[in-house]
């Protein structure tokens, strides 16, 4: 199979599901046209310059539209494209890939439920920014601890004594 075909198939499936879920609503034609355009663009990308990240981004508009049908559907489609992305990136059969997929589905599901419960997005957005800062600090701390551990606390240049 050509590299990236898994992602194209996922994009196509997500586009079809999103359009089907929006059948009978004013957003249906938009979802249909967007799905067709993105699936076509995905095929072009796969045949001329296979790039998983671009295909992952191609799947975001149908997920965006599917939110108006059901937030849970958007969560499921986002989980699907994320897993396809991880598989395409070479994490197939790796424990880290499975763990990250499970974690992502859980976190994004909880986040979607939290957003859906609010009329305006101000509070969820502030919460997201705060969480992002905390996560960034935690990452920096973990990386710094790891580097300090391997350097053995030595920071001076080695060499002539």
């Amino acid at each position: 199979m050509k590299p990236g075909m898994t992602m194209v198939m996922a994009v196509l499936a997500i586009s079809l599901v999103a359009a089907g879920a929006l059948f009978g609503t004013p957003l249906f034609p938009v979802a249909l046209v967007a799905g067709a355009l993105l699936a076509g663009s995905g095929l072009v990308v796969v045949f001329f310059h296979p790039e998983e990240t671009a295909l992952f981004l191609f799947a975001q508009p149908p997920v965006f539209l599917s939110w108006y049908a059901s937030p849970l559907l958007a969560v499921a489609l986002e989980a699907l494209i994320t897993i396809a992305f991880l598989v395409s990136a070479g994490d197939t059969g790796v424990r880290r890939g499975v763990v990250s997929a499970i974690l992502l589905v859980s976190v994004s599901g909880l986040f979607a439920l939290f957003i859906a419960g609010h009329r305006h997005i101000l509070l969820p957005l502030v919460l997201l920014l705060v969480v992002c800062v905390i996560v960034m600090l935690a990452l920096l701390g973990t990386a710094s601890h790891l580097i300090h551990r391997v350097t053995g606390g030595l920071h001076e240049a080695p060499g002539r004594q």
Binding site: T82, L104, A143
Partner: protein
């Protein structure tokens, strides 16, 4: 931790989505921003966890042959890095050679793409341009996954062994005398090497290639070097005057002195009475090894004090005998009726009886008073205050010991030569 290109793209998409959510009050856009940033964050945590697993299992075994060598000599290094690589990761392993030791052959880095336990062997060659105790920088391991890469710089004792002991090149310059030194001085440049051959032995790393005896080598199929018998019957005292580490003395001068001293002690320790070495730093006696036959002890004494600090100083120290000579000379000129010489003579007369020899003078006198010492060889940088050289020269002259001094080429000046002559040094040699 460096993000890969796809991670940067995802973060940009998340930021754009967040802006859309903010400006349009769009819940799905916020959900997408959260999903994409969450993907990146989860991958970052998992990557760091995997990197921690790799870091805890890294072990390095490194051998360097030879590890005691001469500046500019080649070293063969074999470094084996043991590590356990998890699935989904790729590792670039590179050994960090000591600074000032460029790679001459082989490669000091390699890449591991397969998961599992590995023993990566790196074999390469170095040429040590720097001198002193050179330690390896450690081992660098760069881990890659599809989203991030991280450099793990393994440093510290276990990862920087072994230490290379690189002796500086500081041989006396061979050839005819020239410039301000003159032809007469050039004859004495091989003072520490005799002209008769005492014995032959197998070649050892660090030996001067010029001492190889090619006839014996061709006959037996292995390298033999000549051992010279020079200075038999004499027991010269070698004085290595090391510069104060607190003073801005050029490293090349210090290396020239230590290199020449190492050369000299290696040859002198094979002589019948061994080598008498005095390591000083200005008027501070650091070490004194009389009639020492162990080259290891002599070399250790030189290396141990390779960057000493000068505790005592004796700027313009005056010897009582010299002061008495000045006083007498002033007495001869007193008849002119000038008041200043008379006053100065009175000052000399007042303080000469109270003058006590410096501890360094006593140490020099005792070192030179040993029986059988017929020559004094001083190796000095000639940098800064030289009062201690004057004390050494005067003490040698007082005991009838022939005093000779070696100074780096770049430090020699006509004024210094004139002063050294005045202090009693009969020969000034050039160290290159």
């Amino acid at each position: 931790m460096r993000p890969s290109r796809r991670t940067v793209v995802l973060l940009i998409a998340a930021a754009v989505s967040l802006l859309l959510a903010w400006s349009l009050d769009s819940a799905p856009a916020l959900f997408l921003a959260g999903s994409m940033s969450g993907l990146v964050a989860v991958r970052a945590f998992l990557f760091l966890h995997a990197a921690g697993t790799v870091a805890s299992g890294v072990r390095v075994e490194r051998t360097a042959t030879p590890f005691i060598l001469r500046q500019g000599s080649p070293v063969n290094v074999t470094c084996t890095v043991h590590l356990l690589l998890p699935h989904g990761l790729r590792a670039e392993v590179s050994d960090v050679p000591p600074p000032g030791a460029p790679l001459t052959k082989g490669s000091s880095s390699a890449e591991i793409t397969l998961a599992g336990s590995h023993g990566m062997k790196l074999a390469y060659g170095l040429s040590c341009i720097s001198c002193g105790r050179l330690s390896f920088g450690g081992v660098d391991i760069v881990l890659h996954d599809p989203f991030f890469s991280l450099l793990l710089p393994f440093r510290g004792g276990a990862f920087s062994h072994p230490t290379l002991l690189v002796d500086p090149v500081g041989r006396f310059r061979a050839g005819e005398g020239s410039g301000i030194i003159g032809d007469k001085d050039s004859e004495a440049r091989r003072l520490l090497r005799g002209y008769g051959i005492r014995s032959f032995r197998g070649y050892m790393p660090g030996d001067d290639p010029r001492t190889i005896d090619w006839k014996l080598t061709a006959k037996h199929g292995k390298l033999f070097v000549r051992e010279y018998a020079g200075m038999i019957g004499k027991s010269p005292l070698l004085v290595a005057d090391l510069p104060d580490s607190a003073m801005p003395c050029p490293a090349s001068l210090r290396d020239a002195v230590i290199g020449s001293a190492l050369d000299a002690v290696r040859e002198m320790c094979r002589m019948p009475r061994g080598c008498s070495l005095m390591v000083i730093c200005g008027p501070n006696l650091l070490s004194f090894l009389p009639n020492e036959r162990s080259s290891a002890r002599l070399e250790r004494a030189l290396r141990e004090y390779s960057s000493p600090q000068q505790v005592l100083r004796c700027y313009r120290a005056l010897d009582p005998a010299v002061a008495e000579a000045f006083r007498q000379r002033l007495g001869e000129t007193e008849g002119n009726g000038d008041g200043f010489p008379r006053k100065l003579r009175e000052i000399y007369s007042a303080f000469i009886p109270a003058m006590e020899p410096l501890p360094f003078e006593v140490q020099c006198a005792r070192a030179l008073a040993r029986q059988g010492d017929t020559a004094l060889h001083v190796l000095s940088t000639g940098w800064g205050d030289a009062s201690h050289l004057a004390i050494l020269g005067l003490q040698a002259r007082r005991r009838g010991v022939d005093a000779r001094i070696g100074i780096p080429d770049s430090a020699i000046s006509p004024d210094l030569l004139r002063r050294l002559k005045g202090w009693g040094y009969t020969v000034v040699r050039v160290m290159s």
